[in-house]
Structures are given as C-alpha cells and as structure tokens.
C-alpha cells in the first residue's frame, strides 16, 4: 500500500511516498507524480522519510520521473531515506546517480 503526498513549496514539488513502492504500487505512483510534474513544476524532491520499502519496480518509477524532469529542464533529487531504502539506493547506484540529501532542507538548498 502506498499513499502519496505532494506539496508545492515555492515552486519545488515535494513528493512524499508513504508505505511501499513496489510492483503493486509503482505504476499508480508514476501516473500521479507525472501529472503533477507536467502541471506544476519540473523541480522535484522525493522525500523518502516515510517510505518503508522499495524494489526495482519502485526504482524504475523514480528513474522514469527523474528522466522526465531532466528532459523538461528541471531535476529530481532524493532525501531522508531510512536505512533499508538507503541500502537499496546504494546497491543500485541510484543514490549516487540522483543525489541523496539527509534532510529535506538540504535538498531544497541544492535546487
């Protein structure tokens, strides 16, 4: 199960997935944030503080979003992953590729 909170903070979209980003939820997640990025802003932060679990299907949706923001001239960065999610980001090379900040404030600062 996944709940997604999206907030526009001074032109930066802060996207907060809560729960599990896996083979069950990643497609809907992608559709939800895709619309928001087109409508609102191509500067996005994925706040992972309340994400319990991510699999490669979840990573795929993040990759697609990151490519989209970049193609629109913006970017996507990550922040505040918990240990288990951080391990998956590290092993996959995603953390290094996209940039992971410890806090949302640091991520906002980087934009």
């Amino acid at each position: 199960m996944l709940e997604v909170k999206i907030e526009n903070k001074s032109g930066i979209l802060v996207i907060e997935p809560i729960g599990r980003l896996d083979g069950l939820s990643s497609k809907q997640f992608l559709e939800d944030i895709d619309k928001q990025i087109l409508k609102d802003s191509n500067q996005a932060i994925l706040n992972l503080e309340k994400l319990d679990y991510i699999s490669s299907e979840g990573l795929r949706s993040i990759l697609t979003t990151a490519k989209k923001t970049k193609s629109l001239g913006g970017k996507l960065v990550l922040c505040a992953p918990r240990d288990g999610v951080k391990e998956v980001l590290d092993i996959s090379g995603f953390g290094q590729m996209l940039g992971v900040y410890e806090t949302e404030a640091q991520a906002i600062e980087s934009m």
Partner: protein, 137 residues
C-alpha cells in the same frame, strides 16, 4: 526459538497482488527477526517479477521455501517457467551511466548477489530451482 529448524512454504501464482500475501507471510515468519522482512521481501519480489515477466509459464506456479537454521537462512525459490539461470544469464546491471541513458535491467540479481552469501541454481524436472543462503548473526 526451539531447536527444530523453522520452515515455511509460500505459494504464489501469476497475480502481482500475491505480493501482499508474500509480505504478510514474511512478517509472520520473521516475527523474531523483523530486520530480515524487507531484504527477503525484496529478493523474492525481484525473482517473482522475473518469473511473471519473462518466465513464459502458462500457469505460473512459484514455491518459496524458507528455512531458518541456527546461523543461516535458506531460501529456495522454484518456478515452472522456461529454463533460466539468473545467476549467469541475467543482464549486467547498469550502475554507472548518466541519468539520460540509464537502463534498469539486471538489478534484481544484483540485489540478490549483494544481499545473500551463497547462491546456486539447478534445473530439475522442468523446474527452475534457486537456492540462496544468508548468514544470520
């Protein structure tokens, strides 16, 4: 835990909704080792996605057997898909390319090799059998 090895068998079919059932079963099996739930869930989800997407079985049957020994967890993953040894035949993951060209194939097996200590594969009677072992401290 008593001296008997704790064993659980989880059966999955070709419905991605079975992932919810898988997570429930793992939460139950690892109730004394909650830190193992997510890593093992990840390993099995990656294998299961591959079985669904590439296994080409008409009626996919997946059997996951978990066995908790004194210092190790043994995971046996079996499916009735086409013969495929993920340990040698899976794509190499793309860990370094820039975002624009980054592709995502092969990550599942990369996770498995990183998160378990021993891996072996055999094809027995039309069944793919992957055995993974993870040391437990």
């Amino acid at each position: 835990m008593d001296n008997e090895n704790q064993v659980s068998v989880i059966l999955l079919s070709k419905k991605i909704e079975d992932l919810t059932y898988l997570t429930e079963q793992l939460n139950d099996f690892f109730k004394d080792h909650m830190a193992l739930v997510n890593p093992i869930n990840l390993i099995i989800e990656e294998l299961y996605s591959n079985s669904i997407n590439y296994g080409k079985a008409k009626n996919l049957e997946v059997k996951v057997t978990l066995e908790m020994k004194e210092h190790a967890l043994k995971i046996k993953y079996e499916d009735n898909g086409i013969a495929f040894n993920p340990l040698t035949e899976a794509k190499q993951p793309d860990l370094e390319s820039d975002l624009e060209v980054h592709a995502i194939g092969g990550l599942g097996v990369h996770f498995i090799k990183n998160m378990t200590d021993n891996q072996s594969y055999q094809r027995i009677n039309e069944i793919n059998q992957l055995i993974l072992e993870k040391e437990i401290n």
